[in-house]
């Protein structure tokens, strides 16, 4: 534990809460629409899923920024590696998607 850790913890909690509440709201409305009108556009459901998947990635980006501001080099490097690994996953997803 270092000073500032609790602040980052609360900040991360806030970002995750916003992400999960927004995506859940999109999914809830989208689900009702899809069940009531099966022909309707699934755009809201897709938005909910993309938001959901993007939320932990946003939390990693926030940590990178906070550790950069705090000049905490070790954790800046570690969280940046995590972000690059997620980018690699996104690239793999795009490659698979093109093959379908």
């Amino acid at each position: 534990m270092k000073p500032g850790d609790t602040q980052l913890e609360i900040l991360i909690g806030r970002v995750l809460r916003i992400g999960v509440v927004t995506s859940t709201a999109c999914l809830a409305v989208g689900l009702v629409l899809a069940l009531v009108q099966p022909q309707s556009s699934p755009a809201l459901l897709q938005a909910g899923i993309v938001l959901l998947i993007a939320t932990p990635a946003a939390r990693v980006v926030l940590s990178i920024v906070e550790y950069a501001i705090a000049k905490d080099r070790l954790f800046l490097i570690l969280t940046s590696i995590v972000f690059l690994e997620l980018v690699a996953g996104a690239v793999a997803a795009l490659v698979f998607h093109k093959r379908i």
């Binding site: 999960v20 069940l35 998947i53 793999a92």
Partner: protein, 276 residues
């Protein structure tokens, strides 16, 4: 598969059950949702895994938001381990696209059986430094334990083992659609010095990033059906909200025995299906 309103309702209930158990045990619920979707409702294991990973992300975000500021989650230690889990999950997500359903089911049976055995074997161990003024170090932690009503301090041991277990957990997470808490929590608790509640909370924090690695790949391959996923996610959200309220009141031994029993049943069912 076309999701009718009644099937959506069943998926929602399955999600709620998995979410409650997951929040109680700090496992994200995927270990229960995958068998419910695959064995119970007949979804292919790839789609069951993809839906489950999406619910794992939702649970992780919600649980982390709910517990932020309580010091039960060890963010620094979690972020170190994420380097290993994220690598494991991206590689696992790619590998999963080339493995047959029967092999994945047998792997699921193996993982759940191993975790059940470890949980039973170590069910009496506690990882707590009695002196509340002890120094937990950079990676250790200190939190208020509701069960004993006092501050708890612990130090982290065996970082390489924790990293190795996290890589495997990330890999298995993407292959099987679970958060990977089933592997990390017992290892962190048994060999790395973390009290069960701290290990479970830290794992709940990490599995969002872990599951994101795999979920993106399944989404890219078109294996994440939006209607079924939405029903499962909403169910899990409601279930984990309830489980989170119950969790501090449950004694640790009961939690461990409940976990071991459920895992043994899941393991047997998956093995029987995978051997067909």
């Amino acid at each position: 598969m076309i999701v009718t309103p009644s099937l959506a309702a069943i998926i929602f209930v399955a999600g709620a059950a998995a979410g409650t158990l997951g929040a109680l045990l700090g496992l994200g619920g995927g270990i229960f949702l995958v068998p419910l979707l695959n064995l119970g409702l007949g979804f292919p294991i790839g789609i069951a895994a993809a839906i489950s990973l999406a619910t794992v992300i939702a649970t992780s975000s919600a649980v982390t938001a709910g517990k932020a500021g309580q010091h039960l989650m060890n963010f620094r230690f979690g972020m170190i381990l994420e380097v290993a889990t994220a690598a494991g999950s991206v590689l696992g997500g790619i590998t999963a696209q080339f493995i047959s359903q029967a092999v994945l089911q047998r792997l699921f049976a193996l993982v759940t059986a191993a975790v059940a055995a470890v949980t039973i074997a170590r069910s009496n161990r506690r990882n707590v430094i009695v002196d509340p003024d002890a120094n937990p170090g950079l990676l250790g932690g200190r939190f208020f334990d509701q069960e004993s009503g006092s501050d708890v301090v612990y130090r982290i041991r065996n970082l390489p083992l924790a990293l190795g277990a996290s890589f495997v957990a990330g890999n298995v997470s993407s292959l099987l659609g679970i958060g990977g808490g089933v592997i990390k929590v017992p290892v962190l608790n048994a060999w790395c010095g973390m009290p069960l509640r701290a290990a479970a909370a830290t794992s709940a924090f990490m599995i969002g990033v872990t599951a994101t690695g795999g979920a993106m790949i399944y989404y890219g391959t078109g294996q994440l059906p939006p209607v079924a996923a939405a029903a499962a996610i909403l169910g899990v959200q409601i279930g984990s909200f309830g489980g989170l309220r119950l969790s501090p009141k449950m004694p640790i031994r009961v939690l461990k025995l409940l976990l071991a029993t459920i895992l043994a049943v899941v393991s047997t069912l998956m093995l029987l299906r995978g051997m067909r």
